[in-house]
């Protein structure tokens, strides 16, 4: 039932590479490994780490995208988190935010709870769902070359942009990422909307 395909990309390296030249982009993470992957790249004030609310990352980013139309907003999340709020893709597909890019680090597993299979390794195609939800630019990334080619698109292609990066299922080491919601949210808002907002 599960696909036996083997992937070689390492999630942390992928995230670091994507964020290397992020400019003024803001990043919203989903719960779990994505928090640590993003925080370990650089604990930027324009990172909003969601260490809870599974299924909420895309719509938090969408709300920011509406409020900050001149800035690119990235979601970096896992496949389990995305699936928990899968209806968000339909809502975002209707709204067509030009400045929103969703990147799913897809290890086909719930990494934080013991690596149980998610649906993405069992025949469910997230890129297909995004396409069918009217995302204008989508990509399936399975190797370094494809990653390299897509990184400019993440920042430059008109949104809503959606990419799935297939990675090895092994989790990366956890780091001491900021986890106090009041702290990260106010730090983010000051950095993105200004002190007076």
């Amino acid at each position: 039932m599960t696909q036996k395909l083997k992937f070689s990309l390492q999630r942390r390296q992928v995230v670091h590479q994507i964020l290397e030249n992020r400019g003024d982009a803001a990043v919203v993470t989903g719960i779990g490994n994505a928090v640590h992957d993003v925080a370990s790249a650089n604990d930027d004030a324009k990172n909003m780490y969601l260490a809870g609310v599974m299924g909420g990352a895309c719509m938090v980013a969408f709300g920011i995208a509406l409020a900050q139309p001149g800035r690119r907003i990235l979601v970096i999340t896992g496949d389990g988190e995305l699936l928990a709020g899968i209806g968000s893709l339909a809502t975002i597909g209707v709204e067509q935010p030009k400045n929103l890019s969703i990147i799913v680090i897809d290890n086909q597993a719930y990494g934080a709870t013991g690596n149980q299979h998610t649906h993405t390794g069992r025949g469910v195609d997230l890129v297909g769902i995004a396409k069918a939800s009217n995302f204008k630019n989508t990509a399936l990334i399975t190797n370094k070359k494809e990653l390299q080619a897509q990184i400019p698109n993440i920042y430059q292609k008109p949104g809503p942009y959606f990419a799935v990066v297939k990675v090895v299922s092994k989790s990366s080491p956890r780091i001491n990422a900021p986890k106090d919601g009041t702290y990260v949210s106010r730090r983010f808002r000051s950095a993105v909307a200004g002190e007076g907002a």
Binding site: M48, M59, V60, F62, G63, A65, A67, G181, G194
Partner: protein, 176 residues
């Protein structure tokens, strides 16, 4: 049907005007008969972005994002939708993000559809368990001042506040 009932004395006129005065830029909703007139007025207003959701929890997340990005928004939901928001509300509580929501009640005053009753009766306890402050209103002429007070508490005092609009006065309450 909604159009027929629309009139200038409806409470939605004042609430829509208030939304503009206090700088509401995003509203999010799952279509609901109880708030139909307010939704229609906001949709017709080009200064407010109206977002239709597949489920109400998306709206809680969107409102969190609106605030993070420096805008104000309001979530419009039916009482049934409150039951879809409880986990997402933990972000509002953990981050102490302001949240204004208008909840049109079902399953209470004169309800004729039994399936609405369980969620209608658990709406307020569920909101309060999620640390949301609840303001009740069951008279049409008091909706505006209640929403005004709730908006102050939400945006000026950084709290999650729900205005619970009784089925007695919501558009759905007048269904036959």
């Amino acid at each position: 049907m909604v159009g027929k009932r629309q009139n200038k004395s409806h409470w939605s006129v004042g609430v829509h005007k208030l939304f503009k005065e206090i700088g509401i830029k995003q509203i999010a909703y799952v279509p609901d008969g109880g708030l139909a007139q307010l939704i229609k007025r906001c949709q017709a207003d080009r200064s407010i972005r109206s977002v239709v959701l597949t489920t109400e929890e998306e709206g809680v997340a969107q409102m969190a994002g609106a605030w993070l990005g420096g805008q104000r928004g309001a979530l419009l939901t039916q009482s049934g939708g409150v039951g879809n928001c409880i986990n997402m509300l933990s972000m509002i509580q953990e981050c102490r993000i302001p949240l204004l929501s208008l909840v049109s009640m079902r399953g209470e005053w004169g309800e004729t559809f039994p399936w609405q009753v369980p969620m209608g009766q658990s709406t307020v306890p569920a909101l309060e368990a999620a640390n949301v402050i609840v303001h009740h209103v069951s008279e049409a002429e008091k909706v505006l001042e209640t929403v005004h007070a709730a908006a102050k508490l939400a945006f000026d005092a950084n709290r999650a506040v729900s205005v619970i609009i009784s089925q007695r006065i919501s558009d759905s309450g007048r269904k036959g």
